[in-house]
Symmetry: C2
């Protein structure tokens, strides 16, 4: 018997029926102590591990959750996955992971793959806000939670950081510390976070329009885009407000190459507070969002949907982190 042991083998050794074995192993129905013990002993001896595929087929529940993200290598997304995984494992779920590599058509394809694997639920960080593939998800009739985007359809749960108020907090701090001219180097404005951060900046500028001046540049959430946008700036303002930390790193590097003193000549700020933000020289003033928590909350929402059919949308608080890259 070199094949992996099954419930049948246990039954034979313990001298009981397979039904009894199943009952003992699942512990949801009463079985006499004697039989119970015999079964457990046999299972232990064989090193039995249940076949979740067979169980999944029978029960219509696989204990797997599909995870669809743009890029697993990006620490933001992987932190989300980590947060979610730690939570989901407590409930016996394992993650089926797919990354769309930034391609929209992949999202669709992978959605089918995941569905095909009969995942019990789905978690996704969409490539773009209001992604049309979300409509398809609905039809799949599998519980979903969308991450880093807020969905208004009430049959889908979602979770995101409060990018808008985070950026407002940051701007308020800069205004309070007598910054009056600004440049906003935006990340991709098609994303939810890009939209919200940009909008917050604009709203503050409009509100304070008598005392401030500013310019806005659009780019992507990358180091090199930060460098490019900096070069296009018409003038170096009091503060350069970057769409995220990566952009800020590019800006920092380029400014130093041009012999600007930070923060004496110009303040630079980021958004996200990634691991390296505290290691730059000077360390970066930024807005922290907790990606790990985002994954955790997302998992929690999914569990609630799975167990009680409750849906919800949650906005996570952000925190202003003041470091040396801004004069205060």
């Amino acid at each position: 018997m070199q094949k992996h042991p099954g419930i049948k083998d246990i039954a034979r050794i313990a001298g009981v029926s397979i039904a009894t074995v199943s009952r003992v192993l699942n512990g949801n129905s009463y079985v006499s102590p004697e039989l119970s013990e015999r079964v457990l002993k046999a299972a232990g001896k064989l090193g039995y591990q249940p076949n979740r595929i067979a169980r999944g087929l029978r029960k219509g529940k696989t204990n797997t959750i599909g995870f669809l993200i743009p890029d697993i290598e990006n620490p933001f997304f992987s932190a989300i996955v980590k947060g979610a995984e730690n939570f989901l494992r407590k409930y016996g779920y394992t993650i089926l992971l797919c990354s769309s590599a930034g391609k929209a058509e992949r999202e669709d394809e992978l959605l089918n793959v995941l569905y095909s694997h009969k995942v019990d639920g789905l978690m996704t960080v969409p490539l773009e806000s209001q992604n049309p593939y979300l409509e398809r998800i609905e039809k799949l009739s599998v519980p979903v939670v969308v991450i880093d985007d807020i969905i208004n359809q009430k049959n889908i749960s979602s979770v995101a950081s409060d990018n808008y108020s985070g950026m407002k907090k940051l701007m308020q701090y800069l205004l309070d510390t007598n910054h009056r001219s600004f440049a906003f180097l935006s990340g991709d404005p098609h994303t939810y976070s890009g939209k919200e951060r940009l909008q917050a900046f604009r709203d503050v500028m409009v509100q304070e329009k008598e005392k401030v001046e500013y310019e806005i540049l659009l780019g992507t959430y990358t180091f090199s885009s930060g460098i490019e946008m900096l070069r296009k700036l018409r003038k170096i303002p009091d503060a350069i407000v970057c769409g995220n930390d990566m952009i800020a790193f590019g800006v920092l590097t380029e400014l130093q190459k041009l012999h600007y003193k930070i923060p004496n000549d110009v303040s630079v700020t980021g958004f996200d507070d990634v691991l390296f933000s505290k290691m730059t020289n000077p360390p970066l003033t930024t807005v922290r969002q907790d990606y790990y928590m985002m994954g955790r909350v997302a998992a929690q929402l999914l569990i609630e949907d799975l167990n009680y059919k409750k849906r919800n949308s949650i906005l996570l608080k952000t925190e202003l982190v003041i470091r040396g890259s801004s004069r205060g």
Copy 2:
């Protein structure tokens, strides 16, 4: 009929038997064009997606690969996962991901979970070199490839970077540029990479013992460990050779706080070449290892094992990357 359509539904609509439907959908047996078309049309209309759980049970093959790593949030590991995933998907595999969170007992537990899900193969980055749980993997009789560690048992494939010769290359460069006193700030010496890098450093020191002096400190692969080890240094040498880039970042930060000029007063080197190594000030001289490629090669090895039962162990080349943190 709100339930998800199955092969039966297609058969009914197309007016054929379920066997015919299966044959058409799998395309491995000849079916007359007429029936074929009717089946395809029905499948399309229903938006049929095969139930991989049922198929898996029947065929004894799930098209899933289990992935077990210490920490998904760590960019090294997630790059490996990404490389592997991109390759595996071409072959129709999806990844079941688990991270052990650095705990050895979790590795064992998760191994069972993965096994229970009847994965067709397993990829793992072990917490420690020569981890005992590798023995257990053998018994599972499922193809395995171990990553970032070289396994000598020939029934298991493995892949790692050539840490030893990478470190030697780096040391040779430092010697060639007239560095004569060294400090080696090691990462965890229980890991395969830690061992190899340390050994290479030692071997070079012994070989050049007449002209050099050095000290060795043991720590972990972290920013804060880098700072700590630097503080314990008895003297600042010509070159501080760090076990990886993270340690080097800590060292860089702390040295600058102490007003050392880099590389004029002291050279600092890393290992890995993470994304941020080119963004530090000065940018870091380091040894690049290609994690993405490591994942890809690992996937390739797994596919070979799966298809032809061929096993292999591969050592990946590393590349010396000279930047501003070392005087040359």
